[in-house]
């Protein structure tokens, strides 16, 4: 197997996979998928790295899984290519609005195992899709999915992910998207689960007026480690990208945001924006941020901002002076803090799922 990346690599300086390396993986067990949320649209379910035919709808534009060749520089993608046996292969024809699709990835077993899914999603010109991804599990496992996305001219993909892996799980997610002229990729990830997780996005804006919005909310506690890494490459003029990452860290949690905006020579009139805010709720929580700009064109507007801090004492007092007790006041301020990252999730079903998951985050000890 290809070796795991180490902290010596600049891209991995804040995330240490040695705990994952120490695991030895056994046979992939069979999994019984527990209750799935009600969802109006079609659904596709993966259990322990395989599609569950019984639980999945027959999708209109799906194709059979075919093994992949990997040429990218990411070593995790190579491991995925060596091991992947299934995944969603979807190709929405030009002009078709495929509506909303719920994809559930569930992993569970008694002994450690690894699941490598390889998803390929292509939207033809002006096609549309909303993909809602629910990632859950039980026990110790490594979930290492790779999703390759290709959007043709004018296509729009809305991709909403809720990562609620088991507390002992490792999740390394790689998403690569090529966006053609006038197309848009809107992404939202809520990171709530896993002992260690890394969500890594590489989005290339290849045609004029392509755009992407990458949003994430990380809610971490205990000894959880959550890493959100996003690289947006502006290869054509007049493209826009936004990255908004909010992290709420309790106990001894460790949050990471690495964001890079690359503007290639000739990509004039680029509009690039990155914002990372972290809220520390405990003395032992830590946050590392590396927001990079790499710019080779002069007529661009790029900015980034980052803040790290605790809850604002003044705001807390104001709420309490109006009769709201402390835990509720804190919860209100934390919700408010996350608001900006959630704003793009306008779909009601998806919003409901997120709110429920986050509501649970407060109440479970």
């Amino acid at each position: 197997m290809t070796a795991l990346p180490t902290k010596k690599l600049e891209a991995w300086r804040y995330t240490d996979l040695r705990a994952l390396e120490r695991l030895s993986f056994g046979e992939v067990p069979a999994a019984a998928v527990p209750d799935l949320p009600a969802f109006a649209g079609p659904r596709v379910v993966f259990a322990n790295g395989r599609m569950s035919q019984a639980l999945s709808a027959r999708l209109d534009h799906a194709q059979d899984f075919a093994p992949v060749q990997e040429h990218g520089p990411q070593s995790l993608a190579h491991i995925n290519a060596e091991q992947a046996q299934d995944g969603l292969t979807l190709s929405v024809p030009a002009g078709v609005d495929a509506g909303a699709l719920l994809m559930v990835s569930y992993n569970a077993g008694e002994m450690p195992f690894a699941a490598h899914l390889r998803h390929r999603i292509t939207l033809g010109a002006n096609a549309r899709l909303m993909l809602i991804e629910l990632v859950k599990g039980d026990g110790v496992y490594w979930h290492n999915p790779v999703t390759d996305i290709s959007l043709h001219d004018g296509a729009v993909l809305t991709h909403i992910r809720l990562q609620q892996e088991s507390a002992e799980a490792f999740n390394t997610t790689l998403i690569r998207a090529n966006i053609a002229a006038g197309a848009g990729y809107e992404h939202f990830t809520a990171t709530i689960g896993a002992k260690l997780s890394r969500t890594e996005l590489h989005v290339s804006l290849l045609g004029e007026q392509a755009r992407t919005d990458l949003n994430a909310a990380q809610l971490l506690r205990g000894e959880q480690h959550g890493d959100f890494t996003a690289v947006v490459r502006h290869a054509a003029p007049n493209c826009a990208s936004r990255q908004t990452v909010k992290s709420v860290l309790a106990d001894e949690a460790h949050g990471v945001f690495q964001g890079r905006v690359e503007v290639a020579k000739g990509a004039q009139k680029t509009d690039g924006y990155q914002m990372s805010r972290a809220l520390l709720l405990s003395d032992h929580a830590t946050m590392d941020i590396k927001p990079e700009l790499e710019i080779f064109a002069d007529d661009v507007k790029c900015s980034h901002g980052a803040t790290i801090g605790a809850l604002d004492a003044e705001q807390l007092f104001y709420l309490r002076s109006r009769g709201i007790d402390e835990p509720e006041a804190r919860a209100m301020l934390i919700h408010a803090f996350l608001e900006e990252a959630f704003a793009p999730v306008t779909d009601e079903a998806a919003h409901g799922l997120l709110i429920e998951a986050i509501g649970k985050w407060w109440t479970t000890p």
Binding site: F317, S321, R322, D325, A329, A336, L338
Partner: protein, 247 residues
């Protein structure tokens, strides 16, 4: 009834309140005037329980209960309301959600039934109307992007809904235009009753033309240096603090 007895308080090592004695019987409105930096806001924060203020001596009884031990939210439930000199902005917190959460928290603690969304909206709309505010206020985030005057009106809106027994207005008149001053005063006067009292902190007589106080106190250097009938405010206006303190 509010009774402040020989209250000393400090911020860090700095003593700000140096023995305040003040009694506001229920049903009365008292004004507090005094030079910048005298300790007026400090007093209002100490009364409402803000962190960072250490009471080194003295006590504060509200309706016979020592409130200095209470958390800010419990003082609010007990009926104490502070209209902040500088209202705080809460980005991401919707005004309607904030008002309703506060109102129901207070009602719960007072043993009153909580209001559902419909009942809440009804009373909020009524209050907004009486303060001649725009209903958009409810949709916006608390005080974010509000003008100075709008923030003060928002404080009055909260007061109208929370129906306190003791209102402390810290320079609520500053930043208000002439019409707003009248409207806000009417809001306060509407609450006046034998079971309501108020401490009105201000620098200007014109507010006291609208909210006529029963007693005027002068706070200077951390102490009440003069108290008198409403005419004292006129004297202050004419002679300044130096002249009045000396008298």
């Amino acid at each position: 009834m509010l009774e402040i007895k020989n209250l000393h308080a400090r911020i860090g090592d700095k003593e700000i309140l140096k023995g305040i004695n003040l009694t506001v019987p229920t049903g009365e409105v008292h004004a507090i005037m005094g030079p910048n930096g005298a300790g007026k806001s400090t007093l209002s924060y100490v009364l409402s329980g803000r962190d960072g203020y250490e009471v080194t001596y003295g006590e504060v009884l509200y309706n016979g209960v020592n409130i200095l031990e209470l958390a800010p939210e419990d003082r609010a439930a007990a009926g104490i309301f502070l209209a902040f000199q500088y209202p705080v902005e809460l980005p991401g917190v919707g005004n309607a959600n904030f008002l309703r959460t506060a109102l129901n928290a207070v009602r719960r603690k007072r043993g009153e039934p909580e209001l559902d969304a419909v009942a809440f909206l009804k009373s909020a709309r009524a209050a907004i109307k009486s303060l001649q505010m725009n209903e958009d206020f409810l949709k916006r985030n608390v005080n974010v992007g509000f003008s100075g005057g709008e923030k003060k009106r928002n404080e009055m809106l909260q007061m109208a809904l929370l129906k306190p027994g003791l209102a402390i207005l810290d320079e609520t008149d500053s930043g208000l235009d002439i019409d707003a001053l009248r409207i806000v005063s009417e809001g306060v006067n509407a609450l006046r009753s034998p079971s309501f009292s108020a401490l009105v902190i201000t620098h200007y007589q014109r507010l006291l033309d609208h909210i006529v106080p029963d007693v005027v106190h002068v706070l200077a250097g951390g102490r009440i240096v003069r108290s008198g009938p409403k005419e004292l405010a006129l004297e202050l206006e004419a002679r300044g603090y130096a002249g009045v303190e000396a008298a």
